[in-house]
Amino acid sequence: MTTMTGPLVSVEGLTVDFPGRDGDVRDGAVRAVDGLSFTLAPGAALGIVGESGSGKSTAAYALLGLHRGTGAQVTGTVRVAGHDVQAADDATLRKLRGGTAAMVFQDPLSSLDPYQAIGDQIAEVHRLHRPGTTRRAARARAVAALDRVGIPDAARRARSRPHEFSGGMRQRALIAMAVACEPQLLVADEPTTALDVTVQDRILALLRELREETGMGLVLVTHDLGVAAGSVDELLVMKDGRAVERGPLRPLLHAPRAPYTRELLAAVPRVEERRTPPAPAATAPEVLLEATGLHRTFGRGRHAVTAVDDVSLTVRAGETVGIVGESGSGKTTLGRMLVRLLDPGAGELRYRGQDIGRLRGRDLRAVRGDLQMVFQDPASSLNPRRSIGESVADPLRAAGRLTENRIIGRAKELLERVGLDPDAYHRYPHEFSGGQRQRVGIARALAPEPRIVVCDEPVSALDVTTQAQVVALLAELQRDLGLALVFIAHDLAVVRQVSDRLVVMRHGRVVEEGPADEVYDHPRDPYTRGLLAAVPALPPAPAGPADPGLAGPAGAAVRRNAVA
């Protein structure tokens, strides 16, 4: 192992440019990282935080020289454990990768070879960095590493393929691959973003344990300040490729100096924050949607999976019902059944007293306009080959009540209503940011003038600041149009910001239901308590806008920024 006197990582003036199409600098060239410098002492832990597009992952990739051969232009110096990553030859770099600095990636599903046994994959990497190790010894090492990261029955599970592992186990396997080579530095790029809160909690705990045990350094890239807060000693806040602020964790969180850091902290939804203003409930509003004993099973025979199991739910006019649960809890299936995108397997679904659970053809189309949906991934739920205006106009055309001129006029009104420029009618989805695309998705859902909108993870693909803006928009639309919202999310804090009532789901069943504040403040079910306990905690918000999410003045300011 290299003996070191200096820092483990030292980055000076790192700049990464991605050339545009065909290497042309003018056509879409992007400077992802711009003059970044930082150091990391051996065994220390640094969190790099920022929104998507801030260059944090690009900077992390540069630590292992992963931009080499991709066409990206890297300048500045990057030294890891004494090696100049930029100048190193291929053989040295290969030794550094994994041997000295190992990396853990965001999506544990796609980050492992689907065709090979997990143990073999770990063994392959181990043998690469410990030449002379026999196959058998490397296998044993892989099993030991899997055991260390908490995979039960590691000797048997080492022979499994990645698809036989759950998301959390796959991330453990990736960490095991890193650990198997005993690196001095672990670079983790959004290691828990794809995971549920409870699983995230356990993975972060594992990383802390491993660091204590082996004394390896950690660079943790994340958009989630809560995740960073529990795992690192120092923070580096990035924006537009530059370091905005850097310092020890606690002081930085309690008294951020840079305005951008304050903005970022203020936008983080906090699970302890109550929804304001409290929903006025003078007279009990009309019951719009009433589901009784809904069931849904996928597959048949031995492979049958019950996604939703005996769920009952009512949605009243103008209220927001939040549905939370971990992935696989059946919340998306339930949401799709509520708008009849999926047929209920059993149970009754009534809309304003009419049984719509068995409607077909023309009768079903007649109620479709009243029940709309906003989808999770704004990138894939818009047709990339249709302009955004056309996408919004399509539901109006389908209704067939307006003339073409009126339809285009109405589509432009809707774009303006969700805070987009109506003249953007003819532009295409790829020209917009994630938050703007989600606004298009909302405009499309509003087009048929629905009474109920089911939002399935509408903000989970967005950055915290954008999240706050989209949540504020939904709240505003609800107030102005008297919409009923069903808000499905795995993020408990976001759900609290918007919901009047809350439904907690697990394994297809409702485990707890009630007024949102009551469920959050006095959870009755142990599962709900576990979920709440797993939410990463941040110190209380610094001085500033108390309620960034909802239509406060600060929220509006942020909103204008994004639209401009």
């Binding site: 992963l66 030794k95 990396m103 990636f105 980050s111 689907p114 065709y115 090979q116 994959q121 691959m177």
Partner: protein
């Protein structure tokens, strides 16, 4: 896995049954009266009527089809007017031309066709997948361009031109190889291989272009996947990345295409067989079509269909073996 296999085989049987219905319709859709065709040009109306009766052409259509299926499974006894002739189990009827059982005709021809198809497949996989891998590894370089050009040239030249050129160069000019004449594998394996080398090469040159392109694009696609990035970040060399990880991911489309091509080729590579004088199925169907020998045509089409279906089952099984997730779908 067993359940998966069972489902595939059942599905294949259904496909074959549907194919047999379709093919049987040929008897009725083809121009001319089957009885007149079977009897020959010099028959008088009484003789034709007699033949029609012998062939059972007076029965309703579904009865005839049932007979056809029955003789496939259990064999069939023909009355020839003077005596009774037995046609053994997978009976596809008798040729109008020479009165021989179609099954025997096909079985005689099968070894040459199977030898040609399987040998060519091995060669085109070696050439095509090799070229594709090479150009994926050396992308952007002179090697890639060279490979692309060679392979394209092979695909763009009709097989009778490539074949003739091969014959001229290797047999006439250099005299390295004998002019091909088919020697059965059971007689002399060495002569079998030497005589088939040129036909194999001619077919493989034609086919390998597709495989080179397919392999190259699917390897490149696989190289862009996240798990490749993982192994790159752990110091695995580009070579191992391609050979150990990307190739595996790139195989399923190659296997699927091979199945289709092999199946088609088992139905006879007409041009190649004719050019090199190979007594295969391709020659048989050319003759049979020219003389409107309907039982032979029907038999060959059925056997070809079965070959395609079988090759695809094999491909599905191979796919499930390389990618365990496939069997779950």
């Amino acid at each position: 896995m067993t359940g998966y296999l069972l489902r595939r085989v059942l599905g294949a049987l259904v496909v074959l049954l549907a194919l047999s219905v379709l093919v049987y319709a040929l008897f009725y859709l083809a121009p001319g009266d089957p009885a007149r065709l079977a009897c020959g040009p010099r028959c008088n109306p009484e003789q034709i009527a007699q033949v029609r009766d012998q062939l059972g052409l007076n029965d309703p259509v579904h009865v005839q089809y049932a007979h056809f299926l029955q003789s496939l499974v259990a064999g069939h006894d023909y009355s020839t007017g003077t005596g009774v002739q037995h046609c053994a189990a997978p009976c596809l009827g008798r040729s109008y031309q020479n009165d021989l059982p179609v099954t025997d005709l096909i079985v005689q021809r099968l070894p040459a066709t199977v030898s040609l198809a399987l040998g060519a497949m091995v060669l085109w996989l070696l050439l095509g997948v090799g070229a594709g891998l090479l150009s994926a590894l050396r992308r952007g370089g002179i090697t890639e361009r060279l490979v692309t050009w060679l392979v394209l040239a092979g695909a763009a030249t009709p097989v009778f031109i490539t074949g003739l050129m091969l014959l001229m160069v290797f047999c006439a000019q250099l005299e390295w190889l004998p002019f091909p004449s088919y020697v059965p594998l059971t007689e002399d394996p060495e002569q079998w291989a030497w005589n088939l080398l040129l036909p194999w090469l001619a077919l493989a040159l034609l086919e390998s272009a597709k495989y080179a392109r397919l392999t190259r694009s699917s390897v490149l696609e696989a190289l862009a996947e996240d798990h490749i990035r993982t192994f790159r970040a752990y110091g695995v060399s580009e070579r191992s990345l391609v050979l150990r990880h990307a190739l595996r991911a790139a195989l399923p489309p190659v296997i699927a295409l091979t199945a289709v091509d092999l199946g088609t080729m088992l139905g006879g590579a007409m041009l190649t067989e004719t050019l090199f004088g190979l007594p295969g199925i391709g020659q048989l169907i050319v003759q049979a079509t020219r003389t409107v020998d309907l039982p032979v045509v029907v038999g060959v089409v059925l056997v070809t269909g079965a070959a395609v279906v079988l090759a695809n089952i094999l491909a599905d099984v191979l796919h499930a073996v390389t990618d365990r997730r496939a069997a779950l779908r």
